[in-house]
Structures are given as structure tokens and as C-alpha cells.
């Protein structure tokens, strides 16, 4: 079953076509990588998938538990509700709120009480808040962040901010997780640890994962399939071994001369 299917997706900003005719399909439970040189349009694909940009043309459909959703014109919060969560390449935490609040906000759509209960602090509010705090701390525990739950997000070191972004995405209860360069700026040890965590997450939370990453050690190690973009177009798709040997990919990354040598 295809979890996510993108057909002939195009996005132009005025005269610039950032993504052109891109098609992609991900099956439930897969761990797929999306790679390409800087400016290839990978993050734009993520922004189209999460409703931050509206596609110029093409179709995006997401299917989960037998429910099919067309994502093209949906607002980001609706896409989040449908079951897609993401992290951001340039960390976008709620900087002046606590670590715990960052996670609790992501549980917003699953908090079962309305405006009235919020204003009057009816019992439903207390019950749900208690549950949300427990679940948030459980999630933070997985990433060794629960001890910092009362710190402001902006005061966390860089690596922990990246991890908090993943926790926050998981807190929305997604079935498809989009990770935008999760290992950016991490050292070798941290990257290796993160690689393990991502693989474990997929099994533990029954996730489908699509990740953008420049760190090839991470991509080649855990991705089952890899898509390669260059100048807004999809230039290759296949298993890690195939991608490594694909002349178009080598050309895109290293230039014409090396590819011919």
C-alpha cells in the first residue's frame, strides 16, 4: 500500500521553478531518503507536502488506515491532523517556551477538551492535561530530554534542540515522519547515535519515514530506498547500492569530469 504518493509535482516562484515534475511513492513502513546537492529543491518538496507552499501543479495524496486524503490545498494544521509531521532544517522550536511546552503544543490536536473547559478549568481540562504531561515526559525520556523539561528551548545545546524537534514532531502522533537534515551540524558520534534512534523509532512508533540528509553514512546505512534530486527534478531512484553506482548521481554531486574519469 502506498502511504504517500506524489505525481508530477511542480512549484514555481515567479520565473523560478524550484520543483519540476517530481513523482515519488512511499509505502507504509518504509524508510526512504531524499538526497541531492544544495538548492536541488528537497526542502521545497517538504514544504509542499506539509502545506506551507501550495503546489503550482501536480497531485499529492496521503493514505493512512484506508483513509485517502488529497493534500494539495490543505492548510498545514489539517495535514498534521491527517498524520504527517516534520522537523525543520533551520530549527524552528518555540524558543521562549519550555521544553515541555514545546512538546505539549504538538499534542494540541489530541487534547480532548474545548474552549469552555479551557476557560473554566473544568475537570476534563485537569484530566487531559495530566495525560498530556505524562505522555510528553515519556516521549522526552526516549531522547534523554526529560530532565530538561523546564528549560527554555533556546537554552538547549544545538544537538538537543535537533532532538527536541524530533520529539515535538512525534508528539503530534504521525504515521509519516518527514525529517529535514536531522544530522546537520552533528559530529560523528552524535550522527551514529541518531542513525540508530531513527531506525528504532520507525519500529517503535510504526512510522513511515522520509528524510532529507547530506550525511551519506546515515543515508546509506538506514535508508531502504533513495530518491535523488538535482535542479528541481528527480534524477534517480533506487536502493543505496544502485544510487552509489548511478553515473547521473555521481555527476550531480561531483561534476562531469569526475563522472567521466
Amino acid at each position: 500500500m502506498a502511504e504517500l504518493s506524489i505525481k508530477k509535482l511542480t512549484k514555481s516562484f515567479g520565473g523560478l521553478t524550484a520543483v519540476s515534475n517530481v513523482s515519488l511513492e512511499i509505502k507504509t513502513g518504509e524508510l526512504v531518503g531524499l538526497i541531492g546537492p544544495n538548492g536541488a529543491g528537497k526542502t521545497t518538496v517538504f514544504n509542499l507536502l506539509t502545506g506551507i507552499y501550495e503546489p503550482t501543479s501536480g497531485e499529492i495524496t496521503f493514505e493512512h488506515d484506508g483513509r485517502k486524503t488529497r493534500l494539495n490545498k490543505l492548510k498545514p494544521y489539517r495535514i498534521s491532523k491527517a498524520g504527517i509531521a516534520r522537523t525543520f532544517q533551520n530549527i524552528r522550536l518555540f524558543r521562549d517556551l519550555t521544553v515541555l511546552d514545546n512538546v505539549r503544543i504538538a499534542m494540541h490536536q489530541n487534547a480532548g477538551y474545548g474552549l469552555l473547559a479551557g476557560f473554566l478549568h473544568l475537570p476534563a481540562h485537569a484530566l487531559e492535561e495530566k495525560r498530556i504531561i505524562e505522555e510528553s515526559i515519556n516521549l522526552l525520556d526516549i531522547f534523554n530530554l526529560s530532565e530538561k523539561k523546564n528549560e527554555m528551548a533556546r537554552n538547549l545545546p544545538y544537538g538537543e534542540q535537533r532532538r527536541l524537534e524530533i520529539v515535538r514532531a512525534l508528539a503530534t502522533g504521525p504515521s509519516l515522519l518527514l525529517l529535514d537534515e536531522p544530522a546537520a551540524g552533528m559530529n560523528l558520534g552524535e550522527t551514529a547515535q541518531l542513525t540508530e534512534t531513527i531506525a528504532q523509532l520507525r519500529d517503535r512508533f510504526d512510522l513511515t519515514v522520509l528524510l532529507i540528509e547530506h550525511d551519506m553514512s546515515l543515508v546509506m546505512r538506514i535508508c531502504e530506498r533513495i530518491y535523488v534530486m538535482d535542479y528541481g527534478s528527480m534524477i534517480a531512484e533506487g536502493a543505496p547500492e544502485e544510487i552509489k553506482a548511478n553515473p547521473r548521481v555521481i555527476k550531480a554531486y561531483l561534476g562531469e569530469d569526475v563522472a567521466n574519469a
Partner: protein, 327 residues
């Protein structure tokens, strides 16, 4: 801890605090220590607390800069005044309560109508749109017959006493505090921090911006109605741009994103203003100097984005004793 305990504890603490404030002021009034002049200052303080808390919800917590808060206050004041002056005298205090409610609802409805289109604007643009809105409201009040034009309405029945003042002020502040301390309040703060991230994490950002705006407008309507029913006279100029700025000054001074800061600043400014009465000529100059001084030494406002809580007071107390020991 059982659910019951969880619900009861903070409520109990708040209740004791509020009850104490109510009883102390009531005693001061009964013994005559608090004369009419002081009481008028108290009314101003309470109205300013309502105005500042509700503007803080919009600007400090949700991050939407609004320069038109006096406009909503004006709608509340005029609606309540016109209603009270046109119902039979036999209605008594019922006329007042219905008037306050009507004024608040009218302001809330205008907030909704204006919020839907303007909240798509960000930052400076929203500020200018809300500024324009309050000017439009002022000009409408100047030109309508029912509002008696620039001369305004006088002889509004006075029903505001300490009990009603307390009920409405405490009520508004408590409801806003509860709202902020729920998933709805967190959604508002998320919008302030990063609108795109909030949207991506499942927060319907338009909805929450509009809700914050409506709750803010509704509360400002209550403040306006209380004003009308205490000060007899209302006229359009009272609710001009400068009034909006006054409210914003309280919010910024107290700290954007601190409800207790807004309350503290509302009290402090009123006290400052009365203390300066004796320096009639240079009063406004001194007032401005004080504001500048506070902004230089506390640019984040008196409270920053913190709230006054037992934990904070304990920490403060510890610091004090620590310093004493070192001396």
C-alpha cells in the same frame, strides 16, 4: 494525587488571595479610610487591569500588535450607556448587568468582524489596520445622533460599586489566566513564537488569532461599560489613539506575556500618576521620565514574561537573605 486534589489546590489558593483583597478594600470603604478620591483611583486601576490583561492576551501572548484597543472599549461604553439610559428605571441593577453584557458582546462581535480580515496581516500592518479601526469607531461615535456627537453622553446611571468592580475585574483576569493555562493558551503562545511551526504542529493559527482577538475585544467592552457606569460622562475623545497607547504602555511596562505584570503595572502607573498630582505643571514630564527610566533598566518590562508565583517569591526571598549574609 487524585483528580479532585489536582483541581482544588490552585483554586483554593487563588480564592483565599482574592477574598483577602476584597475584604480589605471593603473594610477600608466601610471605615471611611478610602474616600471618594481613592475609590475613583481604584476604579481606574481595575478598568486598566481589565484593559491591559486583555490587550496582553492579544499582543503579549499571541504576538499580534494591536493599536486599537480603545475602540473596543468605546463600543462597550456606548452600548452599555445607551442601553441603560433607555430602559425603564425600574430595571435597577439588572439594567447595568444587561448593559455590561451587551457592551461586551457588541465589542466582541466587532472584534470578530474586524479580526477575520485583518489578522491575515502581520506586525506593522496589523498595527496600522487596528489603529485605523479605532479611528473609524471614534468618528462614527462623533457623527451619530444616538451617541450625541462630540459632546458625548452624560448622566449615565452609576451602578459601579466595589462589589461589581471586583466581580468583573477578578472574573476577567481569572478567565484569561485559565485560558492561557490551557491548550488554547499554549496554542496562542506557539503562534507568537513561530507561526509556521505552530501551524505545522496542528494549531489552527487563524482560529486562535481570532479567538484571542474576540476575547480581548469582549473584555475591553466590559472595561468600557464599567467606565461609563462609574464616570457619568463618556465622549468619543476619551477613546482615541492616545487611550490605546496608554493601554499598550501598561502592557509593555508590566511585561509582554505576563498577566501579573499587567496588573502590577496598572496599579503602579495609577499610583505614580496620583502621587504626581502635587506637581501639576511638570506632572506629565515626570511621568514620561519615569517611563523612560523603567524601560532603560527593565527593557523586558517589570515582570518580563514571568508570572508572580509562590516559587518566584521564594526564590526572590532566598536571594535577599543570601545577599544579607554576604554583607
Amino acid at each position: 494525587m487524585s483528580v479532585k486534589e489536582l483541581v482544588k489546590k490552585p483554586v483554593l489558593r487563588k480564592g483565599i488571595g482574592l477574598g483577602a483583597v476584597f475584604i480589605i478594600v471593603q473594610l477600608l470603604l466601610m471605615t471611611g479610610v478610602m474616600n471618594d478620591y481613592y475609590f475613583a483611583t481604584l476604579v481606574t486601576i481595575c478598568i486598566n487591569i481589565i484593559l491591559a490583561s486583555s490587550l496582553n492576551l492579544i499582543t503579549g501572548f499571541t504576538g499580534q500588535l494591536s493599536l486599537g484597543h480603545a475602540g473596543f472599549m468605546s463600543i462597550g461604553a456606548y452600548t452599555c450607556a445607551i442601553f441603560m439610559m433607555n430602559v425603564p428605571p425600574g430595571w435597577g441593577v439588572g439594567a447595568f448587568l444587561a448593559g455590561v453584557l451587551l457592551g461586551a458582546v457588541a465589542a466582541g462581535v466587532v472584534g470578530l468582524l474586524v479580526g477575520l480580515p485583518t489578522l491575515r496581516l502581520r506586525g506593522d500592518y496589523l498595527a496600522i489596520a487596528t489603529l485605523g479601526l479605532s479611528e473609524i469607531i471614534r468618528i462614527i461615535m462623533v457623527n451619530l445622533d444616538i451617541t450625541n456627537g462630540a459632546a458625548g453622553l452624560s448622566g449615565v446611571p452609576r451602578f459601579v460599586n466595589w462589589i461589581w468592580l471586583f466581580v468583573f475585574t477578578a472574573g476577567v483576569v481569572l478567565l484569561i489566566a485559565n485560558f492561557l493555562n490551557s491548550k488554547h493558551g499554549r496554542a496562542c503562545k506557539a503562534i507568537r513564537e513561530d507561526e509556521i511551526a505552530a501551524d505545522t504542529m496542528g494549531v489552527n493559527t487563524t482560529r486562535y488569532k481570532v479567538i484571542a482577538f474576540i476575547v480581548g475585544a469582549f473584555s475591553a467592552g466590559i472595561a468600557g461599560a464599567l467606565y461609563a457606569s462609574y464616570f457619568y460622562v463618556i465622549k468619543p475623545d476619551l477613546f482615541g489613539f492616545l487611550k490605546s497607547v496608554d493601554i499598550l504602555v501598561i502592557v509593555v511596562l508590566g511585561g509582554l506575556g505576563s498577566l501579573s505584570g499587567s496588573i502590577l503595572a496598572a496599579i503602579l502607573l495609577a499610583v505614580m500618576s496620583s502621587l504626581l498630582q502635587s506637581f501639576a505643571e511638570i506632572r506629565m514630564v515626570l511621568y514620561a521620565v519615569m517611563l523612560v527610566a523603567i524601560m532603560i533598566f527593565r527593557p523586558q518590562g517589570l515582570m518580563g514574561s514571568k508570572e508572580i508565583s509562590l516559587a518566584l517569591l521564594k526564590k526572590f526571598g532566598k536571594n535577599l537573605t543570601f545577599k544579607k549574609k554576604r554583607v
